[in-house]
Symmetry: C2
Subunit: 171 residues, 2 copies
């Protein structure tokens, strides 16, 4: 499938089968994130692959009690390094959330190509997530996603018309 | 090409040919952004397609004088709506930069599939960019990219090893 087809096919999956993920698929998903662009190619990120059931359960609780997260065989947690960016980029230090977001989205697109489902989780209490995974104080958590085979194909939620979101030569 | 192949092929292009872009290609690029996921599907974004030479020149000046930006036939400016998110999401209002980043990156991946080059530009003075395009006070500028045919294939800058950026069940 083309990139545009994958982009349109990707939807938030909130119900997962228990089936484990082939390691080749997981590695290609991670590879898609690893090759993301970042400000000055700093790659100010780390991705934690969580497979332990008890850790997944705790993450789900810290993420507004969205228990479906723990049903997926894998949860990927995307972390960023603000200090790393600040040291190298000064006023442009704010690039790390953009960088980590892009890398996580790359993973989700590749997951879709692998027949796997994902779901952007931005609703979580960072102060609860960090101790679960021993994430140090200077590291931020940008987002996370479950990763697994969808129980069923989710319904598309549609989008605004292109005329509403695109303009030419001015706002 | 597969998503992973496109992801690996995409590189920052800093030298563009003057050739114009077929409208079908431009529309598919915009479509790739329009279908991006966003927190609560709010789509808190607007994308300004800049083709006017004088506006492109001004944008390049506001973007740390990176004059190559104005050489591309098109510049796409990605804007976000923080208030929109805040009204609907409360404490999770910070999703708009992630949302806009994902949409812009979708466009850049689709651009690559179209044989077009792009370059993430995060180094710009927002207070200078906004008046150029009549962007209202409540709207933020997340990033921009030139869009056009590359003068030549850029060299890959490589990435950190997977062992450095991925860990399992803990930081």
């Amino acid at each position: 499938m083309s990139v545009l087809e994958i982009i349109k096919k990707r939807k938030s999956v909130r119900k997962y089968r228990e089936d484990s993920i082939p390691d080749e698929s997981l590695q290609r998903v991670l590879e898609a994130g690893r090759w993301a662009p970042s400000g000055k190619n700093l790659q100010p990120w780390k991705f934690i692959v969580v497979q332990d059931k008890s850790l997944k359960d705790k993450l789900a609780q810290a993420a507004a009690h969205q228990t479906f997260i723990a049903d997926a065989p894998v949860v990927i947690v995307g972390c960023g390094f603000p200090e790393h960016c600040y040291a190298k980029m000064g006023r442009y230090m704010k690039s790390w959330p953009v960088d980590v977001a892009i890398a996580l989205e790359h993973m989700m697109l590749q997951a879709c190509e692998e027949g796997l489902g994902t779901c952007w989780i931005g609703a979580f209490r960072e102060e609860e997530v960090k101790p679960i995974l021993n994430i140090p104080p200077h590291v931020k958590v940008l987002g996370l996603t479950p990763l697994g085979y969808p129980e069923k194909e989710p319904v598309s939620r549609g989008r605004k018309d292109v005329e509403e979101v695109v303009s030419y030569d001015g706002f």
